[in-house]
Every structure is written in C-alpha cells, then in structure tokens.
Amino acid sequence: MTEDRSLYLPNLAVIDRIAQETWDTKTFRAVFSDPGLRDAFTYHPGQFQEVSVFGVGEATFCLASTPTRSGYIEFSAKRVGALTSALHELSEGDVVGIRGPYGNWFPHEEMRGKRLLFVGGGIGMAPLRSLLNYCLDRRSDFGHIDIFYGARTPGDLCYTEEFEAWRNAPDVNLYLAVDKGDERWTGYVGVIPRYVREVAPKAENAVAITCGPPVMIKFTLPELQQLGFTDEQIITTLEMKMKCGVGKCGRCNIGHTYVCLDGPVFTYAQIRRLPQEF
C-alpha cells in the first residue's frame, strides 16, 4: 500500500464461500486477490469494513470472522436494500471490493481473564461471533463464557452450524432463545432479557458484550444492571449510516463523536454520555 493510495480505492477479493444463514441472511467468505494482502490483512474483533459490489455501490459490514483464522474474512448480510440485494445475487467466484479494517474494536486485551457474557439478537450476532470465535481460539486467555443468542423464530438464527462447536467448547454455556418456536424447537421460548434474568450470570469480574435490535438492548440493560453489571462492564457496537469509513464523508457522527473513528464499539458508560441520536 503506497502512501498516496486513495482512501477510497478498495482491494479486490473473491467470494469463495456463501452460506445461507436464514431466509434473508447470508454469510460471505472473501479471499483477497492479492496474495500478499491475504497474509498481511489483519484486524481486531469488532472492526468493520466497506464492501463494494461494483456497479451498485458500497456499504458497511462488521467483520464476522476472527483474525485468529487467517487467509479469509467473513461478513454477514441481511437482505434489506439495494447493496445487500446485489450481494445476495452474487455467486461463489464473484469479485467484490473491500476497504478496511476500520474503527475501534472490542477491548479483548482488557477482557483477558474475565468472565464473558455475550448477548446477541438476530443479525446482531455477527460482530459478537468475531469476538466469540477469537476467544474460543484463545480459550485459556478468558474465563467462563455464557452466550445468549435470540431470534424471532428458529429459522432466524444465524451461525447454526457453529452451535455445536460453541456448546462443546470448554467452560462455555450456549443459551438459545426464540420468540416463537416451531414443532422441532425444544429450546427456550421467550425474550432474551427474561432468559438472562432467569440464568442470572455473575457480574463479578465479568464483561457483557451485546449487539442486537434496539428493543432487545433496551430491555436487557436493566437486567444486566440488576445482576450487578456497571455501565463500564457493558459493551456494545453501534450501527450508523457510513460511506467513507475514515471520518471524511460526515454522516456517522453522533454529536462530535464519529462512529467510524471513535467507534463502533462503546461501553454503555460512553453511550450514556452521547447525545441520544442513533
């Protein structure tokens, strides 16, 4: 990468695997076309990237893969707009553009030795999966892990192929929940905040990492506080409309905080200090 390279020029990458996660969500595995970059590209769980479908445009996706598994990156996309629809039309072997990694990350260094509580909802599991798989690959660096993951129906759960690996990892509990079960669902039926209250994970020496629909976060926070989690012990990642990813295009700011530069990862204590516009 030369010094005079445009900030907006993506690196080409080949989509080498597409996983249909749910009826509207796919996970794309991308391998950089430049072999040097394939090895050199590294990142932290929680960072994001800009993905181009040439001829359609570019959009922001968090990295859903972990840097501990190198050679490729992964991101998940729910089909919602023009760019994600175009992504969903891609086939294995197609080429996309990738810029990044951008933004800050989950403070995994500070999480060492601590109990981790993951609370994810729907597609919000994507950034948590990056950190979760990172922690599982360095299992001895972290304490007990509880994973709460909820979706509207069993068919809306992503990363189902990995549930066995998560569940079988040492000292890990996986708590799956759906709002509405089906004939095959034998797990928990109910909302995530209530499930968290019932299981009551310990707050002592713990960090809660949450991402999901605003309504889930809104009702999970009081439960976490009830369990003794302070605002500094609760970490989330914010989604804002972004274009450049590098603090130039001027649209992801919340007050003077640029989510692309100062975020997307914030503690709940930091979020409380932000103007409520996100």
Binding site: L7, P10, F54, T84, G93, C244, G250, R251, G255, E277
Partner: protein
C-alpha cells in the same frame, strides 16, 4: 498585513499581462460573470474576463478543491476478470484568482477534515498542494455577509498566499507566502508608497465598519445546545432543498456512488448534505435523524459546536451565501444571535 515581504503596487493596466503570464504555467481559475447577478469561479483562458469588483461571488471556489462530482476510480470487466483503475491524480498547478478572505479561511476548514483527522485524502491533497490562492479584499460586503462576527475580516489573510486590495486604478499587492512571492515575481509591480499603505488601511477599515458583528461569537458557541426549541422552529420553515450546504464554502460532506458504463463503471463522490432525509437513512429503514428538526440541529451544531470541540474553530466563515440564497429566509445569523443572547 505581513511585514515579511515588501508591499507592491500593480497598475490595473498591467493586470491582464500578469494573468496571461500565469496562464502559461498554471490553470487559472477566477470569478466569471455567469449572468448579470450570478458570479462563480471558473477556469479561464487567454484574455481572461474576470469580475473582480462587487461583493463576493455567488458561488465559492470550493469546487476547484472539492469538485461537486469527482471520479475516485473506474472498474473494467466483470466476474473474476474485474479490475480497478485509480483516478489519475489532479495536481495541475492552479492559481485561484480573486479569492475572498471568507472563502480562503473556509479552505483551511476543509484542510482540517481532508488533510487532518487521521488519514489524508489524496484527491483533495493533490489539488490543494498544487493550488495558489490570490486573494482580493472585499470593499463592498454583501447584505448577508457576517465574516466579522465569526472571527474573520473583509481583508483577512488566513489561508491566502497573496492579498490584493483594489485602489481604483491600481491594486495593492501584499505577498503572504513563498508561493505567493513566486507568483508576484511575474507581475509588473512597483513599490508601494506610504500613501498606498494608508489607502489600504482606510479601505479595509471602512469595509469592516460596514459589517459590525451580528452576535458575540463566544456566547453563541457556549450556548448552542442539543435541547433547544429553536431547532424545531427552523425545521418548520426549512424545505430541505440543501442550497445552504451546496453554496457553503466549508460544507464538505459527500456521498459515493457507482455509475455503470458499457464496459464497466465509475465510483464517484459527490457533494451531499445533512439536510436530506436519506443522508443518514440506513438500509433496513432506521434513520437516526428522522425529521428536519434533527437535521437543522446537525447543520448548525456541526459548524458551531462539534468542529469547535474537535479543531478549536468554528466551521463557518460568515460568507453569508446561505443567508442570501435560502428560499425561505432562514438566517443562520438570527439563529446564532438568539443563542448568543440567551442568559444575558
């Protein structure tokens, strides 16, 4: 005025010859009459016809540093054969002539964003480094002008390489930087006299006196705040046309889009504005600024709060174009006056 360089006088009869010499080595951009009442900065050729008198031009020279649309790269082919070609750097030596002090200061604000705040934007940087700014002091401020209210002056030199002052049959030339000195070398100037210097001082003072400060800036900056009934009042009138942003010399927000051509396409960026509802609208539908009230707050707060917190200076240089061209007469001076007057 800088004492580093001797002050010179350029007879108006020698202006044309100077401009033509500059044209040999530079792209020359200057204020050109589009219509009787509209002036904008455009590249000019031999026999340049510049509109150098009157108030500051209708449109600022921003587009010559941050074009309204600009190709970032092109793509060719498709599938596995797809290839990218970066846009060629635009580093043509350029003189922007007749830049008003408000617009030169505004470029310093663009520098904060495009050359500072982490990484440099090479598209902007290439043009910026290749550009010399020849300023022209404002003798006749326009009715919406308020540079003196935001720390500027009709003869301010911030960001300029040279400042000309129109003294009737001649220009007073104040060289401000080495690139300015280099340009001035090709002008047929004579040394300025004490009388010239006095005439310049008088003109600058007279122009400033025609624009007494509209509000106390420090008080306005202190009081601009999130929860203010004013935002909703502004929003009620706002048509969300975006003309304030598009004419603003410091507004820099942009969009990036693709355009498809028969053999590939281009990724271009174009000016955008926080006044449009789509600006922050996310793919799945959520919009953190759902109404014009949040957008009114964003535009004013960005300039008078967030940029101040980040760079220590306001993102407005008082050119007054938004005041004069707003179709529903939203006047940012009145907004700031109201904030400045609170608690007094």
């Amino acid at each position: 005025m800088s004492d580093q360089y001797p002050q010179r006088i350029l007879p108006k009869a020698a202006l044309r010859r100077w401009l033509e010499r500059l044209l040999v080595s530079h792209r020359l951009v200057g204020p050109v009459a589009d219509t009787e009442t509209v002036t904008s900065y455009r590249p000019v050729g031999p026999e340049p016809m510049l509109r150098l008198s009157g108030p500051r031009p209708t449109v600022s020279p921003k587009a010559h540093l941050l074009p309204q649309t600009e190709t970032l790269f092109t793509f060719q082919g498709s599938g596995p054969a797809l290839a990218l070609t970066a846009a060629a750097p635009d580093a043509t030596p350029t003189v922007v002539f007749g830049v008003r002090p408000c617009d030169a200061r505004a470029l310093r604000r663009l520098d904060d964003v495009f050359l500072g705040r982490t990484e440099r934007d090479v598209h902007y940087e290439n043009r910026r480094q290749a550009t010399v700014l020849v300023g022209l002091a404002c003798a006749t401020p326009s009715w919406g002008c308020f540079c003196t209210s935001v720390g500027g002056s009709p003869a301010g030199t911030e960001g300029l390489d040279m400042l000309l002052t129109d003294l009737g049959d001649r220009y007073h030339v104040a060289v401000l930087t080495p690139p300015g000195e280099e340009l001035a070398a090709s002008a047929e100037t004579v040394e300025a006299t004490a009388n010239d210097a006095e005439a310049v001082r008088a003109q600058h003072a007279e122009a400033a006196a025609r624009m007494p400060p509209e509000f106390e800036l420090e008080a306005a900056l202190r009081n601009v705040r999130w929860e203010a009934p004013l935002w909703a009042q502004v929003a009620e009138r706002c048509l969300a046309c975006g003309v304030c942003s598009f004419l603003c010399p410091t507004c820099h927000c942009f969009d990036m889009q693709d355009e498809v051509t028969p053999d590939g396409g281009v990724r271009f960026r174009c000016w955008d504005t926080c006044q449009f509802s789509e600006f922050t609208q996310m793919g799945a539908g959520h919009n953190p600024r759902p109404t014009q009230t949040e957008r009114a707050r964003q535009r004013v707060s960005h300039k008078f709060k967030y940029l101040v917190e980040e760079f220590g200076r306001a993102g407005c240089t008082g050119c007054g174009r938004c005041v004069e061209r707003c179709p529903v007469n939203i006047d940012i001076r009145a907004i700031l006056r109201e904030f400045a007057g609170e608690g007094q």
